[in-house]
Amino acid sequence: MSTSLKGTAAAPGAAAAPAFIVEATAVPPESLPATHAGSVDDEVGRLNEALGRAEAELRELAERVAASAGEDEAEIFEAHAEFAADPELASQAKEAIKRGASAERAVSQAFESFRVVLASSQSEYLAARAADLADVRDRVVAILLGKDTGVPVPAERSVIAAFELTPSQTASIPRDLIAAVVTETGSPTSHAAILARSLGIPAVVACHELLDHIEPGVVVAIDGRSGDVTVAPDEFELRAIEERRLREEERRVELTALRDEPGRTGDGHRVELAANLGSPEDLPVAIEAGAEGSGLVRTEFLFIGRRAAPSVDDQVSYYSEVLRAFPGRRVVFRTMDIGADKPLDFAAQPPEENPALGVRGIRLSLLESGLLETQLRALLRAASEVGDGAGRLAIMFPMISTAAEFVRAKEICVAVARGADVDLDGIEIGAMIEVPAAALSAARIAARADFLSIGTNDLLQYLFAADRLNGRVSELADVCEPDVLSLIGGIIRAGHENSAWVGICGESASDPIVAAALVGLGADELSMTRVAIPEVKDTLRRLTVEACRGAVAVAIKEASDGSEARSILAERLDLGAPST
């Protein structure tokens, strides 16, 4: 007998394969002991033993994978073993221990120093190795802490099931061995879901009681578009999921044909469809997906985990690369959005009880204005270096709460431009609207800005006081709640009345039904996860702007909650079954 479960659709596609259950292992670096009590020699001994054991475990894993999946699949774990055995890594960690650090902290920092360099590399190969390093680090730290290091690698192509899946766990499993991902917790905007979408792996999240119903090795069928999860499907159900998979495949081919077409509704109303970018390795997929520029270029990876602040030169090469990738398009760079949950070595802030509500984003930038000035100088220099043929620079400040804050940030930008003798004409400066207070002050902020960009992920989290990574509450934060749609409409109107264009840069825009609603509310630009662009583009081209406006107006007026609003939108716009 099969069992049917329902979760939240998180990445399209369909698959059926045996379940492989991944247990959690990672320990946050802040919770590691900072110093060691015993002798340096004893602590170095612990370090060497842990590195040696990690290496041995990884070699054994490589052998097992080689036997089951082949030499090519095993090679990655050979590389992991080499990392654990690296002499330079060990010597850096030993130096830190001599300075008093615990073995846990020392090895964690040593891994981090290499990981950061690799993560910021232009090379896709090296950037991928950064994720490998995080996994090896977690293993070594787990060994030091006496925890189970579990081996999260299936012996055959499997549906990866977990209570929660970290990006490094997802990334550590060879892509060919993942048929689909399903988690008991999480939301479509959690990092693992975003990663699944960008890898093209079907995923369902927030599937309650998942682990009560599945056993390792039992076949599980996943429909990443409906959120349906079927445990031990019968022959009929298996055939249905296979048909689904083939249809998804055909659909992908169809959508590829739209790549170079502009984003617009069927009646010609223009909507820019841009990609959210997190690091250099996102660029090829964004271009492949036909992104019309970027509405959100995250810059945190340039800062996090470094021992010293990145120089202007360090930053210019990344900014120029992104600008060059989108000739003639707008590229919105968000200045560093960092808080106490990701402390910087070179701008140490006191620990906070509640980093989500603390000194983060523009608040940190205004306290440490030297960092912001350097970043702005690098952005302006990149724009002048790449010249007219490349993308157009736009600058966005994150975590703006008040108009005064925006004005202060903008003044810093004006001063930097004056100092660098750069003309700000043609460079748009805007605010990210993600704090509820800023949503209320949208008109006041828009009057002083060239654009507003609504960061729906954080805006929803703050509006509903619901952590988006906490699957037990994340469902509360539904962008389709009628009053949220109404609020977004109000922000867009406030922008337009003050001659500012308004974009959306959150995962919300990745859902075609929500994208249509946002267009109905007047959004000028939708920036989303890269792989969602073709689907959204296709959907909008089948609709008229009037139909979108009408549908969202009815949804706001008549729906009593988010799921009803979604049903109304889907029905009125003929967009098939709502995805949640």
């Binding site: 590389a79 080499e82 690296d86 290499f114 590399s121 090296l126």
Partner: protein
């Protein structure tokens, strides 16, 4: 101390398996071995450090070896790089 510059002839440069082959060969030398690209010098015996140099096909690297038998070790490393580090050299 002996040093020599070499142009990487293999398709992957000092990435993936060739980086490992190179670091392993360097580790066999008795003394210190370093590799330099664009003025950045790292421990050639550390595959992680070698990777951070991000050396591609056609890049010029400088290999330095110190200590006993440095000349011989350097010859061997240069020969290994020129032969493609286990890959077919591309032209």
């Amino acid at each position: 101390m002996p040093e020599r510059s070499v142009i990487l002839p293999n398709p992957s440069g000092l990435h993936a398996r060739p980086a490992k082959v190179f670091a392993k060969a360097a580790a066999a030398a008795a003394g210190e071995v370093t590799v330099t690209k664009d003025g950045r010098q790292v421990n050639a015996k550390s595959v992680l450090s070698v990777l951070t140099l991000d050396c591609h096909h056609g890049d010029e690297i400088v290999i330095r070896v110190e200590g006993d038998g440095a000349e011989g070790s350097l010859d061997e490393l240069v020969r290994l790089v020129e032969s493609g580090l286990g890959e077919e050299p591309a032209t």
